[in-house]
């Protein structure tokens, strides 16, 4: 550099002029547009959420919903507290319905088949084509649909009558055996309503009422009521009888591991024992004598004493209630098993007490099940000219051997009303994209006496040229000259409801009220009618059902608590939601008892070929002590091939192993039908699991207290072994010193003195946000996990990233086996613990952050400031609870349009390189503060701030509030004798999340958390 310019100077020049160039560029290129409305909708204020009521259409439970919209986009769904079914809560699948709305794989426009492909057409052309084909079919048309609301069912029936043809109702996991049993035993053709909350002893024969059976949110609520410790210090008991512990089973106080298919004999033996002393079995008395307890013990594989004890408890600890078997126990004698359970209930006097026929579940009661079989026969024999499929996917959800695919393919003209492509619509000749239920009108009446209007919560997502099926049918009927008195389904719906009111004015008021409140509850009528036992009109086999094949292991196929029968599989939230039992995400697994696996030298993750007489699948093994040794379990919902980018290729379809047969006489899909053989493939995979340890390793993470020890201050004694250590206090920068001797019990003083750290000290005039989680209520259902993910813009990372341990959910449900024994030798004790940021008063994450991105707020919250974070991850390393997650890639960048429409505008969308974690829903705190400030600067009210997880919990296990307010609900809950804080006694973190110990019937041994 002889000319005097040194490298360093050159870089300086370059740097400064570079800055100038950047500035210039900024002013021209990086333009952000602000688009105002042309005309302002009157119910929208920018920046303020607008809420609408509607009804979830995820399953036949039909929970009432509140939908939060921002600037016309639905961003969050929540339970409607006024609705008697949801009671303000919602399950994971309900939350994920938002992803169905914004599913990028929804169909963009009507399509007609052209060779192997589809061609987009206009609605005009599509409707004209359908009208023409229906005309040509000359009355040989068929409509296959799921359960419909009253108005839609009426419309479709009218339509099919007018064009000539019939409607077939098909629901993959319909509880047909239950309904059929009610008809046989009581002569009532409907599913009764079960009042779990009123019972004191619940016995489930494989009815998974906390996850998929009938109405899981409602039952989650009533189960919490049933199992809560009441004012008299007692709690209801729940016994689960079945070959495999589902999530529902894991919440039982006792597991009676009966063999698959032995429900009927056990129930009848119990009924016989009870009838001897108490009840009258009416026309079944002779039959009960036939099925004695000795035979039951033989068939079921549990001891006579166990069955006797169950029977005595069932009779004496009443009101009792027996349930099931549900879809996971639909073997070839499932109707007989449901009949036996009904008889047991009748003998114990439960009908009219915990089982109500006057508030029966609605639906198309008059239609026999198994119609789909005759529909398949009709299609195969060429008796159908036009087949329309709406809202169901039988090509996937019927066993391959049913012949649906071939029969459907043989129909001359096939129409699909699916909103996104699936296995069935891929075969169609005409695809007419339906609206998502959040864009649709409708009505629901899941239970007699409860009616709710489903209203659209936003304009249809503009990416998809969709049309509500009701509107299509009305339009087609009009084209065929068979007008049905309404131009749109909205008119049809209103006309139907107008007829129930005297005057127009009265109707308009009632209509507005129904929309505003989201539900109309009226007297169901038929008060207190208790039907008597009837002699059966159908021959029933109560013995063990036949199983196909000659393998050693019985295959148990069960509905997934995340995917149902597979209709929710295209939601990345649900795919990445750890299964509540196995904690596995994305892919399928075969559940196998550890002893069975050991005998076959199989480990978790070993891929095996499962072969039944009907097919075979390759799937990794997951050892599970909650399944009998002679059984293996496989969940439904995997193995999609044409359903969308998030579903396809994940897992295997368990239906491939099942026969085409349906249960007789109900016509339900048979899920327990075959024996299988297991052949190791020699291959192994790392499972995409989020499970850490099944064992607490003697640490008081999720301790319990025996019911007998409650109220005597005895829980410390029973848990023992921890909590006796000296409390330490952080002393400036000088490490920990022993805390001054407290004047009262440490657990009574919260927050502890030692939590006065951080820049702000402990200001008296601020709130102190804390949470209480009652582990006795938590069922591990994981609705909170999805609710949190929806509220807080938490990304999903995909299977490969989960395998690497990079899952990003801010909450997880820890599942610890304390005692799970498939031989009935030890009590059942499984602990669920929702783990989220504990917002420690003495947080290990805070002092290690070099940039002060995580710190303690004056309100007692451990905050994470994303814009400060530089991603050292020291905090995550130092967190004893493993609740901090790191954003390795900007996962949100990969979210396709329009799925990103769901993002909550009140929460920062994080990019890569940033730690994140639970914020105690700080955006909701700020929103409430803003509201209070606008309302004259009033104080916040207790209960005004509801975190997303709390809102979603059916059991109301989570309470959030201000501990400084002595009248707050959380202050009362925290004052419970069961309160503890995770690991606090060991490491003095002083968490703000307080847990209430689970209450067990059995003794919790000293030093055993365990």
């Amino acid at each position: 550099m002889t000319d005097g310019i040194k490298r360093r100077d050159f870089l300086k020049v370059l740097g400064v002029s570079g800055a100038g160039a950047t500035l210039t560029a900024c002013s021209t290129e990086k333009v952000e547009r602000l688009l105002p409305y042309v005309t302002m909708p009157e119910d929208i204020t920018p920046g303020v959420a607008t809420w609408y009521t509607t009804v979830c259409d995820g399953c036949s439970a039909q929970c009432g919903m509140w939908v939060r919209t921002r600037e016309g986009r639905a961003v969050k769904v929540e339970g409607n507290p006024d609705h008697p079914i949801s009671g303000g809560a919602l399950c994971s699948r309900g939350h994920a319905s938002l992803q169905g709305l914004y599913d990028p794989d929804r169909i963009a426009s009507p399509m007609v088949r052209e060779g192997a492909d589809f061609r987009s057409i206009t609605w005009e052309e599509a409707e004209a084509l359908l009208a023409q084909k229906l005309d040509e079919a000359g009355g040989r048309s068929l409509f296959i649909g799921g359960p419909l609301g009253p108005s839609m069912a009426g419309l479709v029936d009218d339509f099919m009558e007018s064009v000539g043809g019939s409607r077939v109702e098909y629901e993959p996991l319909a509880d047909a055996p239950l309904r059929e049993a009610a008809r046989i035993v009581f002569g009532v053709d409907s599913v009764p309503r079960f009042d779990i909350g009123e019972a004191r002893f619940v016995l489930s024969f494989g009815a998974d009422f906390l996850e998929t059976w009938l109405s899981p949110v409602e039952y989650g609520k009533s189960f919490a009521k049933m199992s809560a410790v009441d004012d008299h210090g007692s709690k209801g008991r729940f016994v689960f009888a079945g070959p495999r512990l589902s999530l529902t089973g894991l919440n039982a106080d006792e597991w009676v591991p009966i063999r698959a298919g032995s429900e009927a004999v056990v129930a009848l033996a119990m009924a016989g024992i009870i009838a001897e002393d108490f009840g009258d079995a009416g026309p079944y008395a002779a039959m009960l004598a036939e099925y004695d307890v000795r035979r039951a013990a033989e068939v079921s594989g549990v001891s006579e004493d166990a069955i006797r004890e169950m029977a005595h408890r069932f009779a004496s600890e009443g009101p009792s209630l027996a349930l099931g078997p549900g879809a996971a126990g639909h073997h070839r004698n499932a109707t007989a098993a449901n009949v036996a359970v009904m008889i047991l209930n009748a003998v114990a006097g439960n009908v009219g007490r915990t089982i109500h026929f006057d508030a029966a579940r609605g639906g198309s009661a008059s239609r026999p099940y198994g119609d789909i079989e005759s529909a398949i026969r009709a299609m195969a024999s060429g008796g159908v000219g036009v087949a329309m499929v709406h809202g169901v996917n039988p090509a996937y959800s019927l066993p391959a051997a049913s012949g649906f695919a071939d029969a459907f393919a043989s129909v001359g003209f096939k129409v699909s009303f699916a909103s996104s492509m699936d296995e069935t619509s891929a075969m169609a000749d005409l695809v007419l994209p339906d609206r998502h239920f959040l864009e649709s009108w409708g009505d629901t009446s899941p239970v007699s006496g409860v009616m709710a209007i489903r209203q659209p919560v936003m304009q249809p997502v503009p990416h998809f040229n969709s049309k509500q099926t009701g509107d299509v049918l009305l339009s087609v009927a009009g084209r065929m000259g068979r007008g049905m008195g309404a131009a749109t389904f909205y008119d049809y719906l209103r006309n139907g409801h107008r007829r129930m009111h005297g005057s127009d004015a009265e109707f308009e008021t009632a209509w507005r009220h129904a929309l505003k409140k989201g539900v109309v509850v009226h007297d169901g009528g038929g008060q207190g009618a208790v039907p008597a036992l009837r002699a059966p009109d159908t021959a029933l086999a109560f013995g063990a059902p036949t199983l196909d094949g000659d393998g050693d292991l019985t295959l148990l196929v069960y509905p997934s608590s995340r995917f149902g029968a597979g209709e929710f599989s295209n939601s990345p939230w649900l795919q990445e939601l750890p299964d509540p039992v196995s904690k596995i995400t994305w892919h399928s697994w075969l559940e196998m008892n550890p002893h069975t696996a050991e005998a076959m030298a199989l480990r978790d993750g070993d891929i095996v070929t499962v072969t039944s007489p009907h097919g075979s699948v390759d799937v990794p093994v997951w050892t599970y002590p909650g399944i009998r040794e002679e059984a293996v379990g496989l969940a439904l919902g995997g193995g999609h091939t044409g359903f969308g980018r998030y579903a396809d290729g994940n897992g295997v379809n368990a239906l491939a192993l099942l026969p085409a047969e349906t249960e007789q006489p109900s016509g339900a899909l048979v899920t327990v039908a075959t024996r299988v053989t297991i052949t190791p493939t020699g291959e192994h995979r790392r499972m995409a699991t989020v499970a850490g340890s099944d064992d607490q390793h003697d640490r008081p993470i999720a301790p319990a207290v025996a019911l007998a020890a409650l109220g005597h201050g005895g829980e410390h004694a029973t848990e023992g072994g921890h909590g006796s250590g000296q409390h330490m206090e952080l002393q400036g920068v000088g490490g920990f010193v022993p805390m001054a001797a407290p004047e009262e019990e440490v657990s009574d003083r919260f927050p502890m003195e030692g939590s006065r750290h951080g820049e702000y000290g402990d200001r008296e005039n601020t709130a102190r946000w804390v949470m209480a989680i009652d582990l006795d209520k938590c069922t591990g259902c994981s609705a909170c996990v999805t609710a949190c993910q929806a509220e807080n813009n938490v990304p999903w990372v995909g299977e490969q990233q989960v395998v690497m341990g990079r899952e990003m959910q801010w909450m997880r449900i820890e599942r610890y086996y304390e005692s799970v024994d498939a031989t009935h030798a030890a009590p059942l004790d499984v602990r669920f613990l929702p783990m989220l940021c504990q917002h420690c008063g003495n947080a290990p994450c805070e002092p290690v952050c070099p940039v002060y991105a995580t710190y303690h707020t004056p309100e007692g919250v451990n905050a994470q400031v994303y814009n400060r974070c530089v991603g050292t991850r020291y905090c995550a390393n130092n967190c004893p609870y493993k609740v901090r997650v790191f954003n390795w890639y900007s996962y949100t960048d990969a979210v396709p349009e329009p799925m990103n429409w769901q993002w909550n505008p009140d929460v920062t969308v994080r990019e890569n390189g940033v730690m994140e974690k639970c914020s105690f829903c700080m955006q909701r705190v700020r929103e409430a503060e803003n509201r209070a400030a606008l309302e004259g600067g009033r104080d916040l009210r207790d209960g005004e701030i509801v975190t997303a997880c709390q809102q979603s919990c059916p059991a109301e296990a989570i309470v959030f509030g201000n501990l400084r307010d002595p009248e707050s609900r959380v202050a009362h809950v925290v004052a419970n004798e069961r309160t503890y804080r995770v690991l606090d006694d060991l490491i003095n973190t002083q968490p703000s999340v307080n847990y209430l110990k689970k209450v067990t019937f059995h003794e919790v041994a000293s030093g055993e958390h365990a």
Binding site: F10, T24, V31, R33, P36, Y37, V38, R926
Partner: protein
């Protein structure tokens, strides 16, 4: 060596000045409605001073007449086209009637006006307008003397933009919370 430093600084200053010049100028340029028609990039040459100014001939309108949700929402609100037309249906304008023709065109075609955003805080900051308006702050305290500006620019001396010190100074002076999680969550 020092000379080179100066040289670099000089280049930078010129670049800055050029950028400023480009933003300050906003006389209509012939050539229609393209975003490039106005150096500011705004689709309509909207003079804030004509509307909000209190000089003779100006209209002295309240800011919240158009920015209607500033006192009840986190967002101040950009007026819908219908609000503009509420007056401009009968006010054709005298100085630049062609600009009002553009407005009418948006109203007729039912298209939103693609305004270019001037004031912006980062995505990781939550600024609730209503808390500040209801605390008695004047809009001008952050946005500058809008009623005197033909074209808004985010370099008014009052506007601190993404400079957190600017926010915190005011929060300290008015004894508002300086807790990070008040704005960052």
């Amino acid at each position: 060596m020092k000379k080179h430093w100066l040289m670099g600084g000089f280049v930078g200053v010129i670049a800055l000045a050029a950028a400023a010049f480009v933003q300050e100028q906003d006389a209509p340029v012939a050539g229609g409605d393209s975003p490039a028609a106005y150096p500011s990039g705004q689709p309509i040459a909207f003079p804030h001073n004509q509307h909000a100014g209190s000089e003779p001939g100006q209209n002295n309108m309240d800011c919240m007449f158009c920015h209607f949700s500033a006192e009840r929402s986190v967002d101040a609100g950009i007026p819908p086209v219908s609000t503009c037309m509420g007056c401009h249906a009968v006010i054709p304008g005298t100085q630049n009637p062609q600009e009002i023709d553009k407005l009418r065109n948006y109203a007729t075609t039912q298209e939103p006006i693609p305004w270019v955003r001037v004031y912006k805080v980062s995505d990781h900051v939550h600024f609730p307008h209503m808390r500040h308006v209801n605390a008695g702050l004047q809009c001008q305290q952050c946005h500058g003397q809008v009623q005197e500006m033909t074209v808004l620019n985010s370099r008014a001396p009052e506007w601190g933009g993404d400079n957190m010190g600017w926010c915190v100074d005011c929060h300290r002076q008015s004894e508002a919370s300086t807790d990070c999680s008040v704005c960052h969550y």
